[in-house]
Symmetry: C2
Subunit: 444 residues, 2 copies
């Protein structure tokens, strides 16, 4: 630790909900230097910059392990009332009208929205790549906001011809990204699903990922139709097929996993494969009930994703509520575990277990401060309970990513949000105008 007086940042006067494995909650100042946490509580030290967190809960930034930022808006609202497969048709028509400007603006707008509601890390499952420059544009969008980002680089080789990309073209585009110095650790290779990619694409993705040091990512086991199709074509269930294709492992994240057999849960546990659950999305799109408790009991790392719904605080609460009713057990997901799913478990899924998503010395300093004194939240008997059951994205006051202050007192430090909003609304207007979707935007 550097000498007193030389620290970069102190977050003072808050209650630290560390989200470590022991569920430690501690009053005291949090110190950050060189992008990392150097002390939680302890002796008072000087720092070059100070954030006042009195009346606030200080916790790790939330980690959104699954989203599609270009579709965040308009997305679900344009496809209200439709089930997944029909909804995807609407989205793909919208996607068809999108180009680099749309990808960049919506990546930035959605990241800004997530940051403002306390999410510091997002994995953007980005597809389709039906024009050149889309990944580069999205990366420019993420980067402009200060969010910690991962690009789950979709491979969509079938499903809706106008926006498909041949496998070889997709892999060449990823090679170009790497050649342009995008860090391999930021890219996950992500065949979209068995609807939009075939077994050969998954095999090729595994091989390519191994050669280039990329992680893997995909949607799987999301609908009954998918399970039936895979069973008919391959004689096994979807996660079993992934395993046969060598696609499971500790460098792999599987999203949704709504329909799992006992054998598939064992496979996920044995291979160390990560799972992402998106409870509100599963509810709204009527997908079904993922066996989250069984996965956790088997030792599988389960993280959470927003997947276009409201914000990560909603998802944390939703996971508790959904599993409680599903298991008819109010204790099935305790508050501290729900918070871990949204922080430390997300970190493990991006390969940073123990080094992100917890307020522990040495971890990357992604930290949020949540207003927790006042009518909406008091009284607090258990800080984790209150975060889960009372807090919402609107209560977030300060956001720090990698030691940099991105939001202070609710205001972005370096981003003109109103200008970005206007730009995003313009993009959405033209985006809607260029599709056959009979919806228009209301400007208030």
């Amino acid at each position: 630790m550097p000498a007193a007086g030389e620290l970069d940042l102190a977050i003072r006067g808050g209650l630290c909900v560390t989200c470590d494995a022991a569920g430690t909650v501690t009053a005291g100042d949090l110190y950050i230097h060189d992008g990392r946490i150097v002390a939680v509580g302890g002796a008072t030290r000087r720092a070059r910059r100070n954030l006042d967190a009195s009346g606030m809960i200080v916790m790790p930034g939330l980690m959104n392990l699954h989203d599609h930022l270009r579709d965040m808006t308009p997305g679900l609202d344009a496809a209200e009332g439709l089930k997944l497969d029909e909804m995807l048709r609407v989205w793909w028509r919208l996607n068809e009208a999108a180009g680099a400007a749309e990808y960049e603006t919506m990546a930035a707008y959605s990241c800004a929205r997530l940051l403002a509601s306390g999410t510091t890390t997002v994995v953007d499952h980005l597809y389709p790549f039906h024009r050149d420059g889309l990944a580069e544009a999205a990366i420019a969008g993420y980067s402009s906001t200060g969010a910690r980002w991962y690009l789950a680089r979709g491979l969509m080789t079938r499903g809706y011809d106008p926006i498909c990309e041949p496998l070889a073209v997709g892999l060449a585009r990823v090679r170009a990204l790497l050649a342009a110095d995008v860090a391999a650790e930021r890219i996950m290779l992500a065949p979209v699903s068995f609807r939009q990619a075939d077994a050969g694409d998954y095999l090729a993705a595994r091989e390519f990922a191994a050669a280039h040091g990329l992680r893997l990512y995909t949607h799987v086991a999301e609908t009954e139709a998918e399970v039936r199709t895979v069973q008919a074509e391959h004689g096994c269930r979807p996660v079993e097929l992934l395993d046969r294709l060598g696609f499971c492992g500790p460098d792999v994240t599987l999203v949704h996993c709504v329909l799992l057999s006992d054998a598939e849960i064992d496979l996920l546990a044995t291979t160390g494969t990560h799972v992402v659950h998106c409870p509100s999305n599963h509810m709204k799109l009527a997908k079904g009930f993922t066996r989250v408790r069984d996965l956790l009991d088997a030792g599988v790392n389960v993280a959470l994703g927003v997947d276009q719904m409201a914000d990560m605080f909603c998802e944390v609460r939703q996971e508790v509520l959904l599993q409680s009713i599903r298991h008819e057990d109010p204790a099935v997901i305790p508050p501290a575990l729900a918070l871990r799913m949204a922080t430390a478990n997300g970190a493990a899924a991006v390969g940073l277990g123990g080094r992100l998503g917890e307020l522990v010395v040495g971890a990357l300093a992604d930290v949020i401060c949540v207003s927790a004194r006042g009518l909406r939240i008091d009284p607090i008997l258990d800080a984790a309970w209150s975060l889960v059951h009372r807090a919402s994205g609107g209560d977030v006051r300060h956001v720090v990513v990698g030691g940099s202050v991105v939001i202070e007192d609710g205001e972005f430090a370096h981003l003109d949000v109103e200008a970005l909003r206007k730009q995003a609304m313009g993009v959405i207007d033209s985006y809607l105008a260029n599709t056959g979707i009979a919806k228009t935007r209301i400007e208030l």
Copy 2:
């Protein structure tokens, strides 16, 4: 309508989501006079007072048809992880330590919290009455905030001796309230449940209500144990028993109704009995899935309640999400219907159908303005969708009840919220100290 220039209040520049049966959404000013809505849109008129609603959605105040305000905090947090029957034991021990000061302060604090998050009407299911003056204290609390309140006056004659009240004492206390000029329309007679009152109490309540012009209210069909007990003791299911006791009818509201047979749904429809559903509470306490869509299809009026969870916006969204996954149909509760459940259906359940809970000419002017321009909510393609899936209680800016401005720009007009909060925290501290519950409050 009074002449131009004489109107009491104009809410200008918002988008009105009227929550009427047709789902009308209209831009334009809303005019209020003498506690009622006199125009929605139309020609511009002068008013003595103006609220700026530009960038906001204007809608009826939300109606919370079920809560227990004295327990709102500490309530669920003190009983984390417990199922209903065990949780009630914790609450009852807390209740035992409560007196008039606790009832008044917590009624006020909880009403203030609800108002700030857009709920203008609350039905407080209040029990136990183990000391004199508790109803009067609670009424003083509600009234101090400006909320529209209904006291569902509990009758608890069994279950936990230290806080039970003999039936005759309970009815005498209600008589005293009425004699002290509490309007009969504000009181519902509310045997707590078949756990805490017997069939004779229900019969007596019906008779007393008829004699005094009171509405009726109770918890019913909430757990498997309750259904089994009623079947063993009476040879029928709980709602069937209520009907036999003459307890069903258009002046009756039944809360929870988790476990209903087809015959019971028919009974509710035939008798015009109202139902209140509390989705997040049912999820957290692992009660099960109420047949909400079947009730609506049968023509039963179903309203919503917070029941100690976060706020009514959460409940509106939760109802959509919960029924979608339950029925595996994303369209099962459209956004406009969810909003009606939280507004107009609540009005019907308190006997004010068509006269409250909709922005229509002649209705009581309970109106809220929700901030809807900006990063959190834009773009808006469908205002009802955005209210359901993007808004939260923290977005409420103005609150008007019966034509009176209770909150303007997020600030209470006549209530010192910080003083109330401090008072409430003091009450909670002594409340916890006087029980055997090993929890303490954290002051941030």
